[in-house]
């Protein structure tokens, strides 16, 4: 039981569990957007019909669009065309163009329930007579092969086009179909296939019942669950769903049928001195008034502990059409908290209204808080020097610069007083925030309340033990106190000091920042090795001349002392020897100039052969001559 009471008031589930007033403006907007351009006959049908349901009559000029888009060989297309033409005042379609297709579908043994419905409905609109008994037989046959809920829905719709007796037999099956709906969370009913299928089938209930002249036989609890499902569809994606939803909302607010009453809170959920009462609207699902009622708040329970603060209080009607009722709720005796109000309605003229009991409304009572006894103390860690205490009052902050170093600590104390009850209260959020003014990095500390009734909040920041939170970044910070609670009328973000200079003992650590991974890196220009310094050209030339000098000196000296070549033997071998000798030196020159080592070696090997042979011959000749002489 307790678990139920503390259930969170907001619904996390996607399906809202409460019956709400339909989002008619949304549907209308959807049709009006769609009407600007049509791509196919189906959306034309749903748009024209949907917007007509909402009370807008469109001009007959759309008749041209129908004739343009219809496909005469497709029964579904014909169905949409005939339905669309029916929404216009004067739009006659050429019956004979469609007769062949429709008859073929009606005669065929293969047509499905949906096709059968399209053909029958089109025929009825166009005034083509159909063989009712044959169709009924065919439907019964189809029911055996295809038992899907959508197929059954189409069967109902087809039944609604036939005679009253046939329609009546189909209307009797509504209850069977209702039993096939899936229940979700115990609060809604839907069919497999979602909004499209559910809307089609639910709409079929009403059509067939209307034709049969009987009321729709659905248990009121189940009806409410269906209605809850449809009203939770605030926005639908397809025009088809939007059209069927519009029709359903009309059926659900039609006084011929059972009309679910929508009880909803129209005042904000927060009850405060400025907004002291709960305003409740009592309407049908379209938001229209449903007549005079007596609305009684059976109880108002606090969610937390189940304390009942109101019982059997009658609400005051605030509007002449009896659509708005007021419950004065704000009262000093009602403490702040979340409350559930249980409403019971009694209609003067009950008629077919359902959902009059067990209406729950959630409200919260808030209070105004004031921050009191705020003290900001700067003290030494070892209490050697006198602590400096500054008293502050909201909303004024300190204007002077506040300097703290690593010998000191900062203490802030405050209390929050509920203005109405004059008690000190605790809040959900009591944060002290430091913001680094350069990097905008935030460091947040929690203020903790003391035990007991005075709930004194205290937060202490020690520049040695808390230095890691700041990453030792000695810098200017902004100091802000944040107080918030869902039951406080306003939350506070109070700038205590805009200029707090913190000085830490250690070197600051840089913030971890991965952003630089994504930045261009600095350009690298390669530094080439510098050329060696060279002597001046003149110096080089002088020394070049000097190096040439020894050869010159040699030649001059040779000339001076005289030399001869009298030992030169005649013949080929000296010539060959000296040519190949010169060739070796020339090869050295070319090696320097252009050849590589391997080429040089190869040439050298070649040149060496004559050099060796001729050299040997020359030396042999000279040696022989010398021997002869001796």
């Amino acid at each position: 039981m307790i678990i139920f009471i503390i259930l969170p008031i907001f619904s996390w589930s996607v399906v809202a569990a409460n019956l709400n007033v339909a989002n008619l403006n949304g549907l209308k907007a959807q049709f009006q957007t769609a009407i600007k351009s049509f791509s196919d006959i189906a959306s034309l049908h749903y748009t024209l019909a949907g917007i007509k349901e909402l009370g807008v009559q469109l001009p007959d000029s759309y008749c041209d669009n129908i004739n343009k888009l219809v496909d005469k060989l497709n029964v579904e297309s014909i169905y949409h065309a005939t339905e669309a033409s029916k929404t216009l005042v004067n739009c006659k379609l050429p019956v004979e163009d469609y007769r062949a297709t429709l008859t073929a579908v009606l005669q065929s043994e293969d047509s499905k329930t949906a096709e059968l419905y399209f053909a029958v409905r089109s025929s009825v609109i166009l005034g083509i007579t159909v063989d009712e008994s044959k169709i009924e037989k065919r439907l019964n046959l189809l029911a055996k092969t295809d038992d899907s809920v959508v197929s059954q829905g189409y069967a109902l719709l087809t039944g609604a086009q036939l005679s009253q007796t046939i329609a009546k037999s189909y209307a009797d099956t509504i209850n069977d179909l209702v039993q096939q709906a899936d229940e979700i969370d115990g609060s809604i009913l839907q069919y497999e296939g979602g909004i499209g299928a559910t809307a089609l089938i639910f709409n079929a209930f009403y059509e067939v019942a209307e034709k049969a002249g009987v009321p729709v036989k659905i248990d009121s609890k189940q009806l409410i669950k269906f209605a809850t499902y449809f009203s939770s569809k605030r926005h639908v994606a397809t025009l088809r769903s939007a059209y069927y939803l519009t029709k359903i909302f009309k059926h659900l607010s039609d006084n011929k049928n059972q009309v679910p009453v929508v009880v909803s809170r129209i005042s904000p959920s927060a009850i405060s001195p400025q907004n002291p009462s709960v305003l409740v609207s009592v309407t049908n699902i379209l938001g229209q008034p449903v007549g005079e009622m007596s609305v009684v708040a059976e109880s108002a329970k606090r969610k937390e502990d189940g304390v009942v603060v109101i019982s059997k209080q009658k609400l005051i009607s605030k509007a002449s059409d009896f659509s708005v009722y007021e419950l004065p709720f704000y009262d000093t005796k009602i403490p702040r908290g979340f409350y559930t109000i249980h409403l019971t309605l009694t209609a003067r003229n009950e008629g077919k209204l359902i959902g009059l009991t067990d209406n729950m409304i959630d409200v919260k009572v808030t209070s105004e808080g004031t921050i009191e006894n705020v003290e900001l103390t700067v003290s030494d860690r070892d209490n050697t020097a006198q602590a400096k205490t500054y008293k502050l009052s909201y909303p004024n902050g300190q204007t002077d610069k506040l300097e703290l170093d690593y010998h000191q600590k900062l203490t802030i104390k405050f209390q929050i007083k509920d203005k109405q009850s004059d008690e000190f209260v605790r809040v959900q959020q009591a944060f002290l925030r430091f913001t680094n003014k350069k990097s905008n990095k935030e460091i947040i500390y929690l203020a903790e309340p003391s035990d007991g009734a005075n709930s004194q909040y205290k937060v202490e920041v020690d520049l040695i033990t808390n230095a890691n939170d700041f990453r030792h970044q000695s810098d200017t910070y902004e100091l802000v106190l944040i107080l918030g609670d869902s039951l406080l009328q306003t939350a506070y973000e109070w700038k205590l000091n805009n200029n707090v200079q913190l000085t830490f003992h250690e070197e600051s650590l840089a913030d971890k920042n991965h952003q630089k991974l994504y930045l261009p890196r600095p350009e690298i220009i390669h530094q080439f090795r510098e050329d060696e310094k060279r002597p001046h050209n003149v110096v080089s030339l002088v020394f070049s001349a000097l190096t040439a000098l020894p050869l010159l000196v040699l030649l001059i000296l040779w000339l001076k002392i005289g030399f001869n070549l009298s030992g030169l033997p005649l013949g080929l071998s000296p010539l060959g020897f000296h040519i190949s000798h010169a060739a070796v030196f020339a090869l050295m020159f070319f090696y320097w100039k252009c050849l590589n080592m391997f080429q040089t070696m190869r040439y050298l090997a070649l040149v060496c052969i004559p050099l060796f042979l001729f050299g040997h011959r020359v030396l042999a000749t000279l040696a022989a001559r010398r021997a002869k002489k001796v």
Partner: protein, 444 residues
């Protein structure tokens, strides 16, 4: 023999199962959507319709579907997965956090939405990506920035576009449009050591994540202030993208179309949710911010030929074509901050490439150090896929004939060498043929 054959086949199957990878680009559109219940298809139908309009081939499955599998015979069946199933404790069929992680490793993209309850399987997957969801039942609470249609606990918060990542590729026009975002869900914190995570949307500095039912905070909240992550994305090293959104309602039709009335600010007729949700999905599923490089050429500036190797101090030209995937087509890339590195262990040259209609070009001189070098383009920018390309070339030293010739200051050496050779040549005549007996004859 038969046994060996079976073993070989088994090995082959094993190898194929583990080596399968996805080559996801903008044309990959197979999308699996896992839902807590199929009702989400309707409550979030606008979002899914936008995806369908973008050509995604969507398969909807409930998260406990027993036939669930994303990999079959070693091949992935989908390119992208959306997990809109926050309360699922365990997936049905053959899917768990490990397989989802492998899917990301193979290059698949994943979008995960949280809620006030986040199942273990999603927590496990998130922690693989460096994201931690706050404990169950907690919600992002902001007592100073909530929407007036809030239920009273200040959990329907209004996130300001000023806290949105400024990268048009990821958030699209959402930042420019300056519309506030509606958010109801849980907060996340990211691993500060993970450089691949990007904070897309953070809460305001007055927010925190804790159980809104608690009357006072019993311990330090899961996240506080701007460190409360609402939307975070990860681009893995293989360019797979993973997105985490703390709120499933963020994508709902109601939030897409709802007007936003902050408690303390000006009303706007529309929330920015749709813009952001669609842009984020586009980015996550590789419809935007994907780059490729092709046609890499490098050649000598002098004669436009590409040699087998380069020699130190050559002037060379490097050319590459960059394309960006925009609206389903590859278009020339316009960025001008692409850099080319010439790397031998360390980069020797790093220079910006000039961009002429997607044709990027750099000219530089090869450094005077020889070895095996690489032309490296390592383009890593927020929102773009990481593009890394390396082309190897070798750089040779100068041939001995290529050094400078006829240096004036070396003339003494040349002349001395050649004069020595000339001397030796002449001397050979003198040594061989000179006769000293002639003067003797004169004396006689």
């Amino acid at each position: 023999m038969a046994r060996l054959f079976i073993f070989a086949v088994g090995l082959l199957l094993f190898a194929s199962a583990w080596s399968s990878s996805l080559n996801v680009d903008g044309s990959s559109k197979r999308l699996l959507v896992l839902l807590d219940n199929l009702g989400l298809r309707e409550s979030h139908s606008f979002y899914f319709k936008q995806l369908k309009d973008r050509g995604f081939d969507i398969t909807f499955k409930t998260s406990d579907d027993s036939s669930l599998q994303i990999v079959k015979y070693g091949e992935y069946l989908y390119d992208h997965v959306i997990v809109f199933a926050p309360s699922t404790k365990e997936f049905g069929g053959r899917l768990d956090a490990d397989i989802l992680t492998q899917f990301v490793d193979a290059g698949g993209n994943v979008l995960v939405a949280g809620s006030n309850t986040v199942g273990d399987v999603i927590r496990e997957f998130a922690s693989e990506c460096g994201i931690e969801f706050a404990d169950d039942k907690s919600a992002v609470v902001d007592h100073l920035n909530y929407d007036l249609s809030d239920d009273g606990q200040h959990t329907l918060i209004v996130a300001s576009p000023s806290n949105l990542l400024s990268s048009e590729l990821i958030v699209g026009q959402a930042k420019k449009n300056n519309l506030p975002f509606l958010f109801r869900g849980t907060g996340m914190s990211s691993d500060p050591e993970n450089p691949l995570l990007l904070d897309v949307l953070t809460a305001s500095s007055t927010s925190y994540t804790a159980n809104p039912d608690e009357k006072t905070l019993s311990e330090y909240p899961a996240t506080v202030g701007k460190r409360t992550l609402l939307i975070s994305v990860l681009q893995a090293r293989n360019n797979a993208r993973v997105g985490f959104v703390g709120s499933l309602d963020f994508f709902s039709n109601d939030f897409f179309l709802s007007a936003v009335q902050p408690n303390n600010g000006k009303k706007s007729d529309k929330s920015g949710n749709q813009d952001l949700a669609v842009a984020l999905t586009d980015w996550l599923f590789k419809q935007r911010g994907v780059l490729r490089s092709r046609n890499i050429h490098h050649y000598l500036k002098s004669d436009k030929s590409t040699p087998r190797f380069y020699t130190v101090k050559n002037d060379i030209v490097f050319n590459v074509q960059f394309d960006e995937f925009v609206h389903g087509k590859w278009m020339p890339f316009n960025g001008t901050d692409v850099q080319l590195e010439f790397v031998r262990i360390d980069p020797f040259v790093r220079t910006a490439l000039t961009n002429k209609g997607g044709q990027l070009e750099a000219r530089f001189r090869v450094p005077d150090t020889y070895g095996i070098f690489k032309f490296v383009i390592d383009y890593n920018r927020v929102g773009y896929s990481h593009l890394y390309s390396a082309t190897q070339v070798s750089v040779h030293p100068l041939l001995h004939t290529e050094y400078e010739r006829f240096i004036t200051s070396a003339y003494p050496y040349y002349i001395s060498t050649f004069s020595m050779m000339a001397g030796a040549f002449l001397l050979s005549f003198l040594v061989l043929y000179h006769r000293d007996d002639l003067p003797k004859k004169k004396a006689e």
